[in-house]
Amino acid sequence: MNNKLMNFYKSHKPYSQFILFGIILSLLPLLVSLGLVKYSLLTTVASILIYSIVALGLNLLLGYSGLISLGTAGFMGMGTYLTAFITADLGLPFELALIISVAVPMVIGVLTGLVSLRIEGYYLAIATLAISEILRKVFVEFDFITNGFSGKQAQYPKLLGFLQLDRNGTYILIVFFLILVMIMMHNLVNSHTGRALSTMRGSEAAASAMGINIYRHRLLSFAIAVSFSALGGVLYMHFVKYTYPNAWILMLSLNILAVIVIGGIRSISGTILGAFIVFGVPDLILKRLPIIGSIDGAAYIFNGLLIILVILFYPNGLINMRFDIQKNFNKLFRRGEDNNG
């Protein structure tokens, strides 16, 4: 029974579910203009969605290849600075900025991976940690591009050279990219590369025996993860319109890691859930609470504790809680029947 449930969950969810989700998300600006929800909610949700995109890439890396990257924030930051430089300083079109701002970090990512993936898996974590520190230095020191500590600004994107988006339009763009990424991830996982990654994670021996080049596949999943981080950075830059070096610190990388660990590894909906928990709960709930709200760092403690609790007691993430709830519900229901019968 359990097997069938898991199988149903795993089977090909039609794209329609993702698109429906996108449509629902797109209604938010409408709700704001109707005065039903606060203006700031749009900002919170937009950042949650952006972090979801980044987290989905990281999910491929951690969930399917079993590798940790601590450079997520650095690569996101790189994406912000590049796109700001290209659109604001160079005046080039948004689409070009998008491509370059994703490609350049990806190349740096590949170079990092080329070195560190030849060795044990944990080297990637340490190497990306080092790279992230170097990048933060770069953000500060290369002030002719980055403006150093003052930070850099950009504008809402202008699509196809003429369609100037406003805040709501940019939000819709973010939703669009999120749904796109969700579909892409879903497809990848259900194709031969996705299976190869799963095999690699489950048994390196089996993977090699089946002709899977482990090194190459690790590099591939890392490159994809970095690209999605950079994509998140681009979207962030054009929505928040401001970036600065200390936005791209280790804590952010850890928070994004928390998203997939808490929400559900190898699960697309789990990642979304995780993003709402890690980035939503602090903003929406914790900060409103009487005493805890005014304490800096409560969010970190909350997320850190949650990571540890989930790993120890709920390794598959909170998204799978509903199976257990259903199981327990069935048990209760059946026991009730027995008593009556």
Binding site: E133, G297, L312
Partner: protein, 290 residues
């Protein structure tokens, strides 16, 4: 020449600071197969505790350091008791993530308990000494000597005592060690405690130049991890030697090349070195049995 001597002397101090932190990481790695990313955060936290004690009670820095290290020992035991010991069946990657979660907890707890302003922790000893045209502070000598002494004691314990034997046995093969009656759970707990203490001392040695603040151990953390990679995760001594080498290279680069980019260049150099020697300078190649 005198500049070189100055650099050498500075390196012994920096190297010592890195070595203490690296030793803690290696100890934990070899006994519980976990890369402890939280080493820096726990050290920072204990350093804050030591500083608060110093400020409130006015005891000497050396006493405060000892108090801080005792706090660290307790924290290490608590972390192992509440978290690590329950994570034995967890896969290595998840164990690493647990330590990342620990970072978040300590990084969140610290500002809550200690505020966000940096605190000052004074030197242990004052005064300086001229030496072949270079000046070295008594504090630096103190740090170098204490660092080396502590490491010496640890290595002696590892090689000559029963506890050390238990550690090496656990590090070699935890399951077999356990089956042979070695209390591997205690070994792990002690490792976390000692690692925390070593890291705290490292932080407090760093404190006079850096102030005690939330990100004080960031660079040391990365460098300590890289020292473990460079030295080879399979060797206790390797990480320590690598740490001194890094300290030396860091100071050299800082003076002769660029003080801003010295660390970045260093990181890149280490990563490229690994390309040629994946098991580190002193590590041994491990063949996986299929």
């Amino acid at each position: 020449m005198d500049i070189f001597v100055q650099i050498l002397l500075n390196s012994l101090e920096t190297g010592g600071i890195y070595a203490l932190a690296a030793l803690g990481i290696i100890l934990i790695f070899r006994t519980s197969v976990t890369t402890n990313f939280a080493q820096g955060s726990i050290s920072m936290f204990s350093a804050f505790l030591a500083t608060i004690v110093l400020i409130r009670t006015g005891i000497s820095p050396i006493s405060a350091a000892i108090v801080g290290m005792i706090f660290a020992l307790i924290i290490g035991v608590l972390v192992d008791f509440f978290v690590i010991s329950r994570a034995q069946k967890v896969n290595p990657v998840s164990k690493q993530i647990i330590t990342l979660g620990l970072i978040m907890i300590f990084l969140g707890l610290a500002p809550m308990l200690f505020g966000t302003d940096p605190l000052q922790f004074p030197r242990f000893v004052y005064g300086s000494y001229s030496f072949f045209g270079a000046t070295i502070s008594y504090n630096a000598i103190f740090n170098i000597v204490v660092g080396l002494a502590l490491m010496g004691v640890l290595f002696f314990a590892l090689q000559k005592t029963k506890w050390g034997l238990s550690v090496r046995a656990t590090a070699s093969n935890e399951v077999v060690a356990r089956m042979m009656g070695i209390p591997t759970a205690s070994v792990t707990r002690a490792s976390w405690a000692i690692a925390a203490a070593l890291g705290t001392l490292s932080a407090l040695m760093l404190a006079p130049t850096n102030s005690v603040n939330l990100s004080m151990m960031d660079t040391v953390q990365v460098t300590a991890l890289l020292a473990c990679i460079l030295g080879g995760f399979t060797s206790f001594y390797g990480a320590v030697i690598a740490a001194y080498l890094i300290g030396f290279a860091s100071n050299l680069l800082s003076f002769y090349v660029s003080s801003i980019w010295s660390d970045s260049i260093l990181y890149l150099l280490i990563l490229t070195t690994i390309l040629f020697k994946p098991t580190g300078l002193f590590g041994k190649k491990v063949i996986k049995k299929v």
